[in-house]
């Protein structure tokens, strides 16, 4: 071992140097980037998710006009778009990690990954378009 320093005080979330040490030990591909993306989106989703859930809970007691007015307001539009982007980015990494565990054929893995990616992009795009339509058209 060229570098025996312990990693305990420099996790990958904080220290880019870990990638350098890991690289020669195995096939990293996009692993570290995805690992970081999963954690960073997770952190963002704590406040965004609580905000969204409590808003929807409040909307459950109101009508269509209130919901449209809520989604059209600038702060809501921004936060909902960020929530969808963080959530779907998080979902993409998570679903990929499930696929990596259960799909053992390279071609099949690539095909399913591409389908999941396409679905996520469509869902994100459609949500953002819908929010923007309300925001711009109010």
């Amino acid at each position: 071992m060229a570098d025996p320093r312990p990693l305990s005080n420099s996790t990958a979330l904080r220290d880019e140097a870990v990638l350098r040490r890991v690289r020669q030990l195995g096939s990293a591909h996009d692993g570290l980037r995805e690992w970081r993306l999963q954690r960073l989106t997770a952190l963002a989703l704590i406040p965004l998710g609580l905000y969204f859930a409590s808003s929807v809970l409040w909307l459950a007691k109101s009508d269509q006009t209130t919901a449209v007015a809520w989604l059209s307001s600038p702060v809501t539009a921004l936060l909902v778009i960020l929530f969808m982007l963080a959530g779907l980015g998080h979902a993409l990494v998570g679903l990929r990690s499930v696929l990596l565990d259960y799909v053992h054929t390279r071609a099949r893995l690539m095909a399913i990954s591409l389908l999941v990616r396409a679905a996520v992009v469509i869902i994100a795009g459609a949500s953002i378009l819908a929010v923007l339509k309300l925001f711009l058209g109010r």
Binding site: T11, I46, L57, V68, L88, G94, V98, S127, A130, L134
Partner: protein, 126 residues
């Protein structure tokens, strides 16, 4: 190569433990929430479109099947949120001891139940 691969490990090779069950539940709820994002996007679209599309979507959401789906997603959301925080604490290097992992696991289950019950008490009775 005859070594067992991941989908077939649980009933045959592993004994049931709360820690591994919670880990699998984290994945299952994550998948459920990803599927739920389809309905969420659909709800945004129906709000933007208005009219008959919103009426139909609203009728579906408030139907028994829609409410059952929302109930399931609320459990999945609270569980994945709480257990996700548990995972982030592990990522920061804390709580790895077995008794701590068990304690935080039961705490996650308890908080999930409390938040779900509070949410649906508010929706149905408040």
């Amino acid at each position: 190569m005859e070594r067992p691969l991941s989908p077939f490990m649980f009933p045959t090779w592993y004994r049931f433990q709360i820690t591994s069950a919670l880990s699998i539940l984290h994945r299952l709820t994550g998948i459920a929430l990803a599927v739920g994002s389809i309905l969420l996007a659909w709800w945004f679209i129906s709000l933007a479109a208005g009219g008959e599309l919103f009426a139909k979507t609203h009728a579906f959401i408030t139907s028994p099947i829609g409410m059952l789906l929302l109930f399931g997603w609320s459990i999945a959301f609270f569980y994945h949120l709480c257990n996700g925080i548990r995972h982030l604490v592990w990522d920061a290097g804390h709580g790895f001891e077995l008794r701590h992992a068990y304690r935080s696991g039961y705490a996650v289950l308890a908080v999930t139940v409390v938040l779900t019950v509070l949410t649906w008490t508010y929706v149905l009775f408040a």
